[in-house]
Subunit: 204 residues, 2 copies
DNA sequence: TGTACATCAGTGAACGCGCGTTCACTGATGTAC
DNA sequence: TGTACATCAGTGAACGCGCGTTCACTGATGTAC
């Protein structure tokens, strides 16, 4: 009624975000989402089929935004080489997670999603590829030493993902010397890159 | 009726584990837990007060077991120095997470727990202290270089926590070159330790 | 311009369900004298 | 040994609730002729 021009599916996804923020992922219900969007509680099913369908669509959107956040950070940092790019990827990853904790959480709750949905598979692959490509660039530039690129990718993903989830969970607050998440992300990314990705000339 | 000698609280915690394994954390209900333990659905409330109380007790037990897993790995590896100990901590952490994914998951779902419960706070502190103490040992032994111990602790925790959660979520399977979680844990821990914790003599 | 038809977004009532919590209770166990 | 009392683990019925899904429907929009 209010926004005649907008489409309901998008409004529903917005409502999901709102509901997650205010009540947490475990309390999310179709009816609450519909209520927030100002439509009948049967409307979401009409567009997304089921609760799982709605959450899956929401997660797909989340992966796209995660990718955007990473690209923005790369753009802003204008990194000169692979390692600097990888650090930017890490910062962009954590920044998204911290800004959209509810969304980030849902994106990794596989048991609440339709893990086989093609759009979801494509979205996750696309995100992962950003990381892999950056590490490949490091390799080409000679920063990888003897390290297995796959292992470096797993380690790099793990360290920023772990930082993000630990922060969101609240366990890091008060244990990280008072630093904020973005600051920690920058420091941890820098530590990882400096320690693991040495230029060829300076290592044995 | 069946096990007259055992105590119901412990049996209920076992039932929580069973329920989590079979239905996932979001589907966990007091009634299901009681059903599995073979008692009336009001019995859990009698011992744990509420669903939150039950889950909090379960999480506390989980932290103790996580600590045990870490200690076992240290014992088994008989590490000679701080860095080797830290690698063992990492392996023990991931091993627990992978063996008890449901429990590990609940331990970090703060919104399902009573985060202020003294036993929980103590249990988490105790676990974190194992990590901090190990890094302090590295520092005393001269492996830390100029690195901030707090930052190294956050990074170390992040990398193994991220690896554990990514594996449990299923996103790593098929993206890690076919390696299993324990193998990845060993490799990632080794990579981190070798890259970050250099002996004094070999670095500038 | 007018008619007939098809499409489709969204409605609202109804369904059956399992949930967490409450509460008066039963019945076993232990204890004081 | 016997009596009276207190404690406490666990019961089972009842409560009110919000949930996801289904389904016949309304009513607007577009299209063909």
């Amino acid at each position: 009624v209010v926004n005649k021009g907008s489409d309901l599916p998008e409004a529903l996804l917005e409502a999901v975000d709102e509901a997650l923020r205010s009540s947490g992922p475990s309390a999310l219900s179709l009816r609450d989402v519909a209520r927030r969007a100002g439509v009948s509680h049967a409307a979401p099913a009409h567009h997304f089929g089921s609760k799982t369908g709605l959450l899956t669509a929401f997660a797909v959107r989340g992966y796209h935004r995660l990718g955007d956040s990473v690209l923005e950070e790369i753009d802003a940092a204008a990194p000169a080489d692979g390692p600097a790019t990888l650090a930017a990827v890490g910062r962009g990853y954590v920044r998204f997670a911290v800004r959209e904790p509810a969304c980030f959480d849902v994106m990794f709750r596989i048991d609440s999603l339709d893990a086989d949905a093609p759009e979801l598979v494509e979205a996750t692959d696309q995100t992962y590829r950003m990381l892999v490509d950056t590490i490949e660039r490091c390799r080409l530039e000679g920063y990888l030493q003897g390290h297995d690129p796959v292992l470096v990718a797993v380690a790099a993903w793990s360290i920023v993902h772990g930082l993000a989830t630990l922060w969101i969970s609240g366990w890091l607050e008060g244990r990280a010397g008072g630093a904020g998440p973005q600051e920690l992300a920058a420091q941890v990314s820098e530590l990882f890159v400096a320690a693991v990705l040495q230029p060829m000339s300076s290592a044995g």
